[in-house]
Every structure is written in structure tokens, then in C-alpha cells.
């Protein structure tokens, strides 16, 4: 059944359709707007689940791939290129979508977190319609980033997340929201510019493919992942095209460095992390759920996708530096999280720490590490979404999220406190909850190559216990201040996303094969490349 439907495009564009439909609904119909936004958020989630069920790890995502020529621009080339016998030249912008073991878990994550954030958006009190339109646009961007199979398409979707996010932070956030939104835009805009430069370098050189047509050979340049990967890995590629036009090793290194900066900002990598602190503290909780839950993972995904699959030599060369940076991220974030007085800021630093683990997994350069990186991404996405969901709930009731102003909430809000404790335990990597598996796999992967870095990195686990318990126990344990005595625990609507996220966290912790089986063989291509890179 699935074979007949363009399911990937459906996942990516259903929210866009929703946004367009929503524009036609009059502003006042709050219930209708909300209901429709929910419907158009859950629809792609259902499609993603169907995709997960239909997906066969052994076959990969071939059955679902979609390709459409979108724009074909003829080029006038200088005579130098005619050496390889081509008679016509063009720049191809293909619409290519695909799915594999790396993107599938992240697509699912996007569906889950976006749906839960949509449910949590009851907290939004103003300008509903615009909010949900932007929210749906953002979803299309996120799905597209993970499903794209062409650099141009990737870039367009990547940018598509930027603008809605800017407004979502700037309009519905807390006190200094506009400042936070500006920082977000400047940093990420910069990252996108750098990324575009790297993409153009790749497309214009390694993106070529030669087709034999009736009127002679046609040389076309495109950003297709497969074409790029094949050309970059092919030692004869330079000769096939034309020696002077192809990327030299130092240019490849430069492209990789640009990608590290671009995705490092997103991840965020020390020292590019300060924008993300502002966003975490100033944006509205449902927005932060998306931001911390999914947008940060786009950095990890990009690094893995373009590092391991396109530039394995460079990834190998950079691996020690990436691993070291990962450890810096882990320890730096964790130590700083230990002294924060504001819970949201503590969570932000803890995100930095956890994304460091993702980096370790990538730097491990083996299948275990890559799986760990993706697993940790998914798990951290769920956990941080849950934590920020709770933060929003608490803020609504108490008007503060400062650890020293709160206390004893377990008496007044037993359910929320219980979920908060569970989320905290998941965040500090308790086995049986999803956080552990990602950390374990990442450390396991990296241990093969850099045992000493792992030995330092596990300190982060110790610190994470310190700051999580300090924060969570500080807020929920102890005596309840009188002014919080009358607080009411969550309503059913608020409890629903909490229960769903907690259930998923437990499920992934108890039976990780659910995800690791889907990931199997997802990295085969990259591993082959890395091995041949090691051989050289």
C-alpha cells in the first residue's frame, strides 16, 4: 500500500497544507484552529509510524525514495570542460526524498515531539492562528531536513525552520524574547551562510554526473547525496570531470571545516553555544520543546550525514578534535549546570553536555558510535521535550522556575513532580530509561579509539547526577512554602503528553532493539567509506 503513495512527501508537506488551510480560517475560531493544527500535526506522525512499520532495515529505504526533476538550468561552459566529451551542460535541481536507518529515528522523533508540543501549546494565550501557522511551517522544515536527499532541498528545508522559529521565539517568549530571537537568527543565519558555501563547493565540483543521450553526452551538476558520495569516493572522479575543476584535498578539508562550524552552531558546540542558552530561557516552553528536542539534532544529523557519508577522510582527520570537543562540551556543560540557579538555564547547560555525547558517538567512527549518536539524539529529544513541558506547567502555576524559589512541590503537585523526577533520572542516564542506551553506545563506540577521553567523559555522568538531583530535588523535595499550598496538579490534557513521553522514554530504555534494529545497516555505506579512508 505504502509503495503507491509518496509517503515521504506526505510526511513533509502535510503540515504545510495544514498551514495553508489554517490561513483560511477566521482568527476568532480558536477551537477550530487548535483542532485543525492538532490534526495536521498528528497526521504526519501517523504516516511516520506507518513508515517505521513498513521499513525493512535490510533493504534500506529504496522503496520509498522519490525523485522529481524540479529545475534544469542550461549552462554555458568554457571549452576546457569539453575534454570529457560532453556536448551539453546543465545545473539540475532535483527534488529528491529518501529515508534510511539514520533519518528514520529522527523523523519519528520529530513526529512525536511536534505532536506533544502541539498538545502542550494550550499554554499559548495570544495570536493563536499565527502561532499554529508558524508551528506547522516549522514542522515541514524539520521533516524535510531529515528526508531530503539533495543538498539544495536540504538547504531549503533547513532555512524553512529558521524563520518560523525566529517568530515563535520572538512573539510568544518571555521577557527578553526579542533579544533571544535576534541571537537565534544571527547565529543560525551565519551557520546557514557557511553551510551554503560548503554546499556550493560540493555541488559545483563533485556534483557532476554524465548521461548519454541521443544528442551526445550531457554533463549535469546536482546536489544529490548519492552522486556526491560516489564522486567523492571515486579516485578517478577528478580525471572524469577535469582535473582543475575538482576539489583538492585541502579544499575538501575547508568544506568540512565549514560544515563543522555550520552544524556546530546548531548542535551547539562549545564555544558557539551562548545563543542557545538565551533561546532555552526566553522562548515559550512548547517552542523550546521543539527547539531542544529536534532543532539541535539537525546539527548532529548534518554532521553525520555530510561528514561520514561525503567526506569520510576529513571526518577521520578531524575525529580526535571532535572527540576532544565533545568531552569539553560534556564536562563544561555539566559543571556549569551544577551552579545554575535558574532551572531552565540548568537544562540548557545540560543539553550542551548531552549533545557532547552525540559528538563523541560521531567521532568514534564506528557503527556502535554512530548508533549511539542517533540514539542519544532521539533520547535527548524526548527527555528534554518532557522536561520543558514540565517547566511550562510549573511556570504556569508558580510563576517562577528558579530552583531557590521553589521547593516541596511534591506535596502540592505529586504527579508533575513524579514525572519530573523520572525525566531527571532519564536525563542522568539511568538504565531502564532511554538516556542510558545512547550514552552507553556512544561511550562504547568511542572507547575503542580513545579510552582516555571516555574516562574523562564519564565524569560528565557523575556531574549530571549532581546537577539533576540538585535541581529536581531542590524544586520538589523539602518543605512546601505557604504560597504554593493551593496549587492544583495537572489536568488531563496537560498530563497526556507527559504520560506519552514518559512511556516512550521507558519503552526505549527497556527495549532498545526497537530503535537499534531499525538503524541496522543504516551506516553500512559510511562504514565502507571510512574503512577505505583508513586504508589510504
Amino acid at each position: 500500500m505504502l509503495d503507491d503513495l509518496p509517503i515521504l512527501s506526505m510526511i513533509a508537506f502535510l503540515p504545510l497544507v495544514g498551514a495553508l488551510v489554517l490561513l483560511l480560517v477566521p482568527q476568532g475560531r480558536a477551537r477550530l484552529i487548535r483542532g485543525m493544527a492538532l490534526a495536521f500535526t498528528f497526521a504526519p506522525l501517523l504516516a511516520a509510524v506507518a513508515l517505521y512499520i513498513a521499513y525493512e532495515p535490510l533493504l534500506g529505504g529504496e522503496a520509498f525514495a522519490e525523485k522529481l526533476t524540479w529545475l534544469s538550468v542550461p549552462l554555458n561552459m568554457e571549452a576546457g570542460l569539453s575534454a570529457n566529451g560532453a556536448t551539453s551542460y546543465r545545473l539540475l535541481f532535483d527534488y529528491r526524498m529518501g529515508v534510511d536507518g539514520i533519518s528514520l529515528p529522527l523523523v519519528l522523533l520529530t513526529g512525536v515531539v511536534a505532536s506533544m508540543a502541539a498538545l502542550a501549546s494550550v499554554q499559548i494565550r495570544k495570536r493563536w492562528k499565527l502561532y499554529y501557522v508558524l508551528f506547522l511551517l516549522l514542522q515541514t522544515g524539520m521533516y524535510g531536513v531529515f528526508l531530503a536527499r539533495d543538498l539544495t532541498v536540504f538547504f531549503i528545508f533547513f532555512e524553512m525552520t529558521l524563520i518560523p522559529m525566529f517568530f515563535l521565539i520572538g512573539i510568544w517568549g518571555y521577557f527578553s524574547r526579542e533579544n533571544a530571537a535576534k541571537r537565534f537568527l544571527v547565529y543560525n543565519g551565519l551557520g546557514s551562510a557557511v553551510m551554503l558555501l560548503a554546499f556550493l563547493m560540493l555541488i559545483a565540483t563533485a556534483g557532476f554526473s554524465i548521461e548519454q543521450t541521443a544528442s551526445g553526452a550531457a554533463l549535469s551538476f546536482s546536489g544529490s547525496y548519492d552522486v556526491l558520495a560516489a564522486n567523492l569516493a571515486d579516485p578517478n572522479a577528478a580525471a572524469n570531470l577535469n582535473g582543475s575543476m575538482f576539489l583538492s584535498d585541502s579544499l575538501k578539508g575547508a568544506a568540512f571545516a565549514l560544515l563543522v562550524v555550520a552544524f556546530g552552531i546548531k548542535l551547539p558546540l562549545f564555544p558557539f553555544h551562548t545563543w542557545m542558552l538565551k533561546v532555552h530561557t526566553e522562548a515559550a516552553p512548547p517552542v523550546v520543546m521543539i527547539h531542544s528536542g529536534i532543532l539541535l539534532k539537525m546539527g548532529a544529523y548534518g554532521l553525520l550525514r555530510f561528514g561520514a557519508f561525503l567526506l569520510p577522510d576529513q571526518l577521520r582527520a578531524w575525529a580526535p578534535a571532535l572527540a576532544a570537543l565533545g568531552v569539553v562540551n560534556i564536562v563544561y556543560g555539566a559543571v556549569l549546570a551544577c551552579v545554575q540557579k535558574e532551572f531552565k538555564l540548568m537544562l540548557a547547560y545540560s543539553s550542551i553536555s548531552h549533545m557532547g555525547i552525540v559528538l563523541l558517538g560521531i567521532a568514534a567512527l564506528n557503527e556502535t558510535g554512530f548508533e549511539g549518536a542517533i540514539y542519544q539524539s532521539v533520547s535527548h529529544g524526548l527527555i528534554s521535550a518532557l522536561l520543558f513541558l514540565i517547566v511550562g506547567t510549573l511556570y504556569e502555576r508558580t510563576g517562577t522556575t528558579r530552583i531557590d524559589e521553589l521547593g516541596g512541590l511534591a506535596s502540592a503537585l505529586p504527579f508533575t513532580s513524579g514525572i519530573l523526577l523520572t525525566a531527571g533520572l532519564a536525563s542522568l542516564g539511568l538504565p531502564g530509561l532511554s538516556g542510558f542506551v545512547g550514552e552507553f553506545l556512544s561511550f562504547l563506540g568511542l572507547f575503542d579509539s580513545y579510552p582516555w577521553l571516555v574516562a574523562v567523559g564519564v565524569l560528565g555522568l557523575l556531574f549530571s547526577a549532581v546537577y539533576v538531583l540538585r535541581g529536581v530535588l531542590g524544586m520538589t523535595y523539602g518543605a512546601l512554602p505557604d504560597r504554593f499550598a493551593g496549587l492544583r496538579d495537572v489536568r488531563f490534557v496537560e498530563a497526556l503528553p507527559m504520560i506519552a513521553l514518559t512511556a516512550l522514554i521507558v519503552l526505549l530504555g527497556v527495549y532498545p532493539s526497537l530503535l537499534t534494529d531499525a538503524m541496522a545497516h543504516g551506516f553500512d555505506g559510511a562504514l565502507k567509506l571510512l574503512q577505505s579512508a583508513a586504508g589510504r
Binding site: 544571527v186 562549545f270 564555544p271 553555544h273 551562548t274 545563543w275 563544561y332 559543571v335 556549569l336 551544577c338 551552579v339 545554575q340 564506528n366 557503527e367 556502535t368 548508533e371 516541596g408 511534591a410 506535596s411 505529586p414 533520572l425 539511568l430 538504565p431 531502564g432 542510558f436 542506551v437 552507553f440 553506545l441 561511550f443 562504547l444 563506540g445 572507547f447 575503542d448 579510552p451 571516555v454 574516562a455 564519564v458 565524569l459 555522568l461 557523575l462 556531574f463 547526577a465 549532581v466 538531583l469 540538585r470 530535588l473 520538589t476 523535595y477 523539602g478 518543605a479 512546601l480 527495549y511 532498545p512 532493539s513 537499534t516 534494529d517 538503524m519 541496522a520
Partner: protein, 632 residues
């Protein structure tokens, strides 16, 4: 013999786990009904454990292993599995029995608490994870349960969450044990990459480390053994990670019994016994284990002499007894260690539950405010007395036999270790005598009203006491000089315990041990038991020494200065660094761009036509430049 029940051993942890799930899902409203569900689940587990043990009593019972695929790491599949050997069968019985008794006891002890069903849910999860830990057939599964045990003890220690002390104690327990856990984690990573086929199960460990194969170098083996031991040090409260255990007394008393007798702290000893093949391959690691154990034993016993909280005295005695077990392990006698773990489980559970009964009656834990309670609570006093005598090592109670086995092993390792162990035995007898005489004899030193109202606890609390007292008396006879059944049985399970232990009747050991315990008891009676003896007699004679002991050798303060404060200072320094340097650089870039922008606005008039002219001029220059290049 058929091993029907061993094949369904996975049900043992599943019963309490189901109880936990039910209780959590139904929420707080369940009240006492939840408590009964949890107790029933623990009863089922206990019955199953008994059946498993019973069918394994014969000679030829085979080990049974079952596993499922849990996680795929790279191309390697990591399993979750369980293995039933005689050792695990023994542990199953201990754990389920103590858990069952604690459940029954708590029905009465916790009956007025509004969160009683939460309490029972935690206890059920605690039992389930400990059973999982015991049954695990590989180190990864063990690690998962290991951490769960830690988090459950954290939850239960902090059960009375409104008390700031409980919060601090829970946090401390979790963080301190986590230090050890990280050691274990690294050991697992090391094993994963160095074992053939990345195997982590015990059978493979046995094959690799027992066959003197060259798969792992000696130094690597030692490193792995020490890292595993670090995990055990954290869990079993060995020096220098013992600090959490006494603080853990903030939890409800039945929990103290559970933690100290059967679950949390036993896990460390069990881990070392289970991975004993690794230790046996590394003599250096064994020596470290023995030294740490011996030092912890005497160190904690000394502190126990001067504590005034009834539960803290017992807590330090646990630390000290665990030291004994480690000493036995370090001396190469895993069976002796397991024997001591077995008997200790009964009498320590007994002592804690009896102490809980006392606390229930007088609502204080300070022994200086007790006294003369023996007349009001006869049953409690008798059972506590039996436990105290067993702990002191008085024959023929179970503690005597197991301590004897430990001492014999220590003597074989080194006379110095033996001497330390004997002195520890003396201390043990002394502080138990002090505790017993101060609490149960003499006249009341607390408020008269409390004393008058103090009465024997209800049957739900005293019946477990009696059962445990009977076991305390009887349990020792499974391994006596004329009956070497236990070590033989443990060894029969194959993996690891072949050289079961020293055994045999050693006159020196028996004499020394009996003399030490009797001398300790006598001293205790002289100082605290006689009529007119003052509570603070010792403190008056040697104030400095008692003060150091009372403050536990200032270890907590030392850690505060050495680790906690530096971390806080580092954190604040980095915070400033983050705000000023990292974010400052960002702001600097931002400001300079803004400044450049301001400067530029001066050049601009806002007149579109001027801009156009400038653009035209630029285009002309470009064209001239491009065109002109041809002529250069």
C-alpha cells in the same frame, strides 16, 4: 533432576515489577490495598525462590541460562538474560525472604503514612531490580539492575521528602554510589573491547580468565578487576565511599533493613563473588580487595563505638561486616564471603527491624534517651539480643560460624589481616553490648511519659522478628567444621567457586574469635551494663578520641573541602568565564558590526538617486576593469 523452576526464574523479578507497575498506575488512592498487592507479589517471588533452591539441592543440578536480544551495538547483539546457578539460587532465597519479611513488617510500621502505596511500590521495584541483578547472566544486564537498585535506594532514603536531611542523604547516596558505578561501567567497556566476541556473560568470563588464556594482559586484568571492585566499593559502602551508608538511615527503618541486609549493599559483595574469575586472575587486585575490606572493617567498627543513634550504630556495623566479606573475597574465599553475607542478611535484618520496633515505641533514635525498654518490650529485647550475640560472633549462633570462616581465610592470606579482623571482632562485640545495655537495660533516661506508653509492637512486626531470630540461630549450621555442605554446594554450580574456601577446624581461629567476642561483651557490660554505669563514661575518660570517632574521623568534612567546594568554585569560575569571555566575544562581534553600521549611515543620505548613481559608477568601473584586462 529436572530443573523446571529454574527455567521460569525470570518470573521472580517479574512479580514485584508487576506490583510496582500496578501500584504506580493506580496511584496514591490505592492505600492499604496496594500494600497487600505488593506483599502478595513478594510472597510469590519467595515461593518461587524456595522452589528453585529446593530443586537445586540435589547434586547434579545444571546451570540454566535464558536470554533475549536486547540491543544491537554495531554488528554485535547484546543480550538481556538470566542464569540460575546455586549461588544465584542462594541469593534469590535471601533477597526474597528478607523482602517478604520487610513487606509484612511494613504493613504495620507504615500503616499511618498517607503515601503507603508509594512506599510499597518503591519496595517492589527495589526487590525486582535486586532479583534482576542476582539473576543477570551478563555484566550489562547486571549493570542495568545495579543502577536501578541504586535509584530505588535513593527513592526510599528520600521517602520522607519533606525533611531536608532526607533529601540530602538521598542525593548523597546516589552521587557517591555513582562514582563506583562509573568504575563498573568503564570495566564493562574494557571487557567489551577486549573479550573475544565482545562477550560479557559470566560463562565467557570464566572461560577466558580461568584458562590462563593470553587474551588479556595481566595489567589489563588487574585494571578491570580494580574497576569492578570500585563499583562494589560504592555499592557496599567500603572505605572511602562508605559515607553514604550511615546517612541512608534517614529512610524508613524497614528500608534500612532491606538495604543493609539483602539488597543494595549485598550487591557489591555479590558482584565481586560473581566476577571472581577476574579477581582470581589478578593476585594484586585480590590483595587490594583484602586490604580495603580489612581497613573498612576496623575503621567502621571503631566509629560504631561512639555513635549515639541506634540506627547509625547498626549502619556502621554493616559497613564493618561488609568489610569482613570483602576481606574474605580478597583472601580468595568467595564461599566464606557468601556464607557471611547469608548469615549477616538474617541477623542484620533482625537487628534493624527490632530497632524499628523500638523506634516505633519511643519515637526517638537517640540511645541516650532510651533505657530499660527490655521490661516493656520483651519480645523485641530478646530477638534483638539474639541478633546482637550473633553479630558479636558468640557460638553457636550463625554469626560465629560465618565469621569463623572469614577469619580462617584471612589467616591464610596474612596474619596481619587476621589480627585486624580479630580486633574488629572485639570492637563489634563491644558496640553491640553498648547498644543492647543502653537501650534495653537499666532505667529510662528519656521522658517518663514516652517510657510509660512504650509497648510491644503488633504481631505483624514481631512475627518477622521471631522468624528472623530462628533463622539467625539456625542458618549457621549449613557450614560448620563437621558439615561442609554449603561451600560444596556453591562450588557445584561450576562457574568460579571451585576452591571453595579454607574450611576445616582451626583451633587458633576459634579461640581468638571466641575470646575477642566474649572480651568485647564483657567490656561492654562493665562500662554500660552494670548498675550505675554512666552513658558518657567513655567520653569522660578519653574526650578527644571519642570526639574523633563521633565525627567519623572527619571524613565528611574532608570530602566537603576536597571535592564539593572545589567543584562549586570551578562551576562559578566557569560561569563567569562563560558570561564574560565566551559571551563577551559574541557581544564584541555584535557591537563592532553595529558600530560599523552606524559609521556607514553617515555616508548615506537616504536619496535613492544618489545610491543609483553610486551603483552606476561601480558598474562602470567594473566594466572598465574587466574589459581593460584584455589590453594589459
Amino acid at each position: 533432576m529436572d530443573i523446571v523452576f529454574s527455567q521460569v526464574a525470570w518470573l521472580a523479578p517479574l512479580f514485584p515489577l508487576t506490583a510496582f507497575a500496578v501500584l504506580t498506575a493506580m496511584g496514591r488512592g490505592l492505600g492499604k490495598a496496594g500494600a497487600i498487592v505488593a506483599t502478595a507479589a513478594s510472597l510469590l517471588s519467595f515461593v518461587l525462590a524456595l522452589l528453585i533452591a529446593a530443586e537445586r539441592l540435589g547434586d547434579s543440578a545444571e546451570d540454566y541460562t535464558g536470554r533475549i536480544e536486547w540491543l544491537r551495538a554495531g554488528g554485535v547483539v547484546l543480550h538481556a538474560g538470566y542464569e540460575v546457578t546455586n549461588l544465584t539460587a542462594l541469593m534469590l532465597v535471601i533477597v526474597t525472604l528478607v523482602a517478604l519479611l520487610v513487606n509484612v513488617y511494613s504493613l504495620s510500621y507504615m500503616k499511618d503514612d498517607e503515601r503507603i502505596s508509594v512506599f510499597f511500590a518503591y519496595v517492589a521495584l527495589f526487590t525486582a531490580s535486586m532479583l534482576g541483578l542476582v539473576l543477570a547472566d551478563n555484566l550489562l544486564t547486571l549493570y542495568v539492575c545495579w543502577e536501578l537498585v541504586g535509584v530505588c535506594s535513593f527513592l526510599l532514603i528520600g521517602f520522607w521528602f519533606r525533611k531536608p536531611e532526607a533529601r540530602a542523604a538521598a542525593k548523597k547516596a546516589f552521587v557517591v554510589t555513582r562514582i563506583g558505578d562509573l568504575g563498573l561501567l568503564i570495566a564493562i567497556l574494557l571487557l567489551y573491547w577486549n573479550m573475544p566476541n565482545h562477550a560479557l556473560d559470566y560463562t565467557s568470563l570464566y572461560n577466558v580468565f580461568h584458562s590462563q588464556s593470553e587474551a588479556l594482559s595481566d595489567s589489563l586484568t588487574t585494571l578491570i578487576a580494580l574497576l569492578i571492585f570500585l563499583g562494589a566499593v560504592g555499592k557496599s559502602g567500603q572505605f572511602p565511599l562508605h559515607v553514604w551508608l550511615p546517612d541512608a538511615m534517614e529512610g524508613p527503618t524497614p528500608i534500612s533493613a532491606l538495604i543493609h541486609a539483602a539488597t543494595m549493599v549485598a550487591a557489591g559483595v555479590y558482584l565481586v563473588a560473581r566476577t571472581f574469575d577476574v579477581f582470581e586472575a589478578s593476585p594484586n587486585a585480590l590483595t587490594v580487595v583484602a586490604l580495603v575490606g580489612a581497613f573498612t572493617a576496623i575503621f567502621a567498627a571503631a566509629i560504631g563505638l561512639a555513635q549515639n543513634d541506634i540506627k547509625r550504630v547498626l549502619a556502621y556495623s554493616t559497613v564493618s561486616q561488609l568489610g569482613y566479606m570483602m576481606l574474605a573475597l580478597g583472601s580468595g574465599a568467595a564461599a566464606a564471603a557468601m556464607f557471611h553475607l547469608f548469615t549477616h542478611a538474617f541477623f542484620k535484618a533482625l537487628l534493624f527491624l527490632a530497632a524499628g520496633s523500638v523506634i516505633h515505641a519511643v519515637h526517638t533514635q537517640d540511645i541516650r534517651e532510651m533505657g530499660g525498654l527490655g521490661r516493656r518490650m520483651k519480645l523485641t529485647a530478646w530477638t534483638f539480643g539474639i541478633g546482637a550475640l550473633a553479630l558479636s560472633g558468640v557460638p553457636p549462633l550463625s554469626g560465629f560460624w560465618s565469621k569463623d570462616a572469614v577469619l580462617a581465610a584471612a589467616l591464610e592470606k596474612s596474619p596481619w589481616l587476621f589480627a585486624v579482623a580479630v580486633v574488629t571482632a572485639l570492637f563489634t562485640a563491644l558496640y553491640m553490648a553498648r547498644l543492647f545495655f543502653l537501650v534495653f537495660t537499666g532505667s529510662s533516661r528519656g521522658e517518663a511519659v514516652v517510657y510509660v506508653h512504650a509497648k510491644e509492637s503488633p504481631a505483624a512486626m514481631t512475627v518477622p522478628l521471631v522468624i528472623l531470630a530462628v533463622l539467625t540461630v539456625a542458618a549457621g549450621f549449613v557450614w560448620t567444621p563437621w558439615n561442609e555442605w554449603l561451600p560444596g554446594w556453591l562450588a557445584g554450580s561450576g562457574a568460579g567457586e571451585e576452591e571453595a574456601g579454607a574450611g576445616g577446624w582451626n583451633g587458633v581461629v576459634v579461640a581468638a574469635s571466641v575470646a575477642a567476642s566474649l572480651l568485647g561483651l564483657l567490656l561492654g557490660w562493665l562500662v554500660y551494663g552494670r548498675k550505675g554505669a554512666a552513658v558518657s563514661a567513655a567520653a569522660a575518660k578519653a574526650p578527644g578520641l571519642v570526639r574523633i570517632l563521633e565525627r567519623k574521623f572527619y571524613i565528611d568534612e574532608l570530602y566537603d573541602i576536597a571535592f564539593v567546594r572545589p567543584l562549586a568554585v570551578l562551576g562559578r569560575a566557569l560561569h563567569v568565564f562563560d558570561e564574560v569571555v565566551v559571551d563577551g566575544a559574541v557581544r564584541l562581534v555584535g557591537r563592532s558590526v553595529q558600530a560599523a553600521g552606524k559609521l556607514n549611515t553617515r555616508l548615506l543620505s537616504g536619496q535613492l538617486q544618489t545610491y543609483g548613481l553610486a551603483a552606476l559608477a561601480g558598474a562602470v568601473i567594473l566594466i572598465v576593469a574587466i574589459a581593460g584586462r584584455r589590453f594589459w
